[in-house]
Amino acid sequence: MTIRIAAEQLCVDYNGSVALYDASLTLPAGCICGMVGMNGAGKSTLFKALTGFVRPSRGRIRINGLKVAEAQREQAVAYVPQSEGIDCDFPVSVWDVVMMGRYGSMNLLRIPRQSDRLAVRNALERVELLDLRDRPLSALSGGQRKRAFLARAIAQRASVLLLDEPFNGVDVRTEKLMAELFLQLRSQACTILISTHDLSHVRDFCDLVVLINKTVLAYGETSEVFTPENLSQAFGGLPPDVLRGQTQ
């Protein structure tokens, strides 16, 4: 079995305050993993470590068996941002955004070749945005924007996809489409790590779950990990009402 993400005893601290300690995680090729935890539990820190934005103070990360920087050069890692992390008024078109997924495989001047255009077109088709390709980003709905960023990850042909709160503020159509795409990507041996606090989605289509609160509390098959005890531990002893209803 190919291992996509292997994090071993990861520690990250910012100026002395610990954001993550002893976090270990192994994700095989072809799986969808939900990462669940409260705000400040270290979800975004783990993403930052996986995208090379913070350097772990201890432990190591391997992606496809490579160091993070090497895996990035191989275009193995795609990050799909939260809507809040993006300036939606930025003057770029949908096509431009998706083309940015190809930059890593282009020459220094980033001049697209025919193959890049094909990859972008194909990705836009898969997220059903081809008709809107010339629209500016600001003219899209929240769900369409989300799909544009997913198309960027698809165009990049990454084998590891990191998604930050992908279901926040999306319409039903987008949600359904995204779920289908995740399954397709999984069958193409991609590994998808989804950070979310929406537990119902995790139950619906994640194969694996990792519960995070400054470290990896529990990790494994969704049915085994999603126990009331584990969840209350992840949410600081007090699982939110929504969650209590779902776990019974």
């Binding site: 995208t51 890692v77 941002p81 930025f90 003057p91 990191l162």
Partner: protein, 279 residues
């Protein structure tokens, strides 16, 4: 007097031809850069860098070096100081910026009063494009060529860096390098800009055209052309205006820029306040 005569009459003076050419050149270059500044939200950084170059200019004059060299060193130095203080302390970035650039600027003021040279402070603070020397023209040309070359070479990477640095990073692009590249280009452009409008107003050259263009379009390519166009137009019109009215050239250039911004603010097709209200 006809309009044509009004426009042609000043061209009889060599200093006016030079001023128009250099202002238009600097305006165009700063206009291009201003797109990145507005999108990245670096207006304050532009203000900081342009003020912080003062001690560099004074020292370079005193040592007989090209003043752009001193300005560049101190411009980049101020940015490095800002980065260092921010990283090593709990003070917020805007405070650090305010603190560092005023410190550098104050050092410059003291140096001006302590160096025995014929530096004209007013000239540095408010620009003197009508009296620009041949050597300064040459320097400005070189700076502008370097800035444009760098911006064109890295335009897509810089756009991505402004838009989504996390993605840039995750596909293996060196965002630290792009950060310093953009800051170096900013320092260079500030040096070129202070020739025409002086230290105090150079930030207008680095921000206003980009802001105006941003209100007029949702496409980056069009935004750059609009910014360059409005900036060049402001420079030319400003120089003429200052000639006709016998008033500060820097003031006139920036005033025209501000006027164009106000027009966009009110009348821009989609983002102007008047059109938005009626739709």
């Amino acid at each position: 007097m006809s309009v044509v005569a009004l426009l042609l009459e000043p061209l009889r003076h060599d200093f006016m031809v030079r001023a128009l050419l250099i202002s238009a050149l600097v305006g165009g270059v700063c206009g291009l850069l201003s797109c990145y500044m507005t999108l990245k939200g670096w207006a304050l950084m532009g203000d900081a860098v342009s003020h912080a170059v003062l001690p560099g200019v004074v020292l370079a004059y005193a040592l007989g070096l090209p003043f752009s060299l001193g300005a560049f060193v101190f411009g980049v130095g101020s940015v490095a100081t800002i980065g260092f203080v921010k990283q090593k302390s709990r003070i917020k970035e805007d405070t650090v910026i305010g603190l560092v650039f005023t410190g550098f600027f104050a050092l410059g003021l003291v140096l001006v009063s302590k160096t025995r040279s014929n530096i004209d402070l007013t000239q540095i603070l408010f620009g003197n494009v009508l009296g620009i020397s041949a050597a300064d023209i040459q320097q400005t040309w070189m700076i502008c060529l370097v800035v444009v070359a760098l911006l064109l070479l890295f335009r897509r990477d810089l756009l991505l860096f402004c838009f989504d640095p996390t993605h840039a990073r995750s596909i293996g692009i060196n965002t630290g390098l792009l950060h310093y590249l953009l800051l170096s280009v900013l320092s260079l452009a500030a040096v070129a800009g202070l020739q025409t409008v002086g230290i105090i107003l150079v930030v207008a050259m680095l921000v206003t055209p980009g802001a105006t263009a941003y209100l007029l379009t949702d496409r980056f390519d069009r935004m750059t052309w609009l910014a360059i166009g409005s900036s060049v137009l402001s420079s030319l019109l400003g120089v003429y205006l200052s000639y006709w009215t016998d008033s500060s050239t820097a003031g006139c250039i920036v005033l025209v820029q501000t006027g164009l911004f106000l027009m966009a603010f009110l009348l821009a097709p989609r983002h102007g306040i008047l059109c938005r209200r009626s739709s």
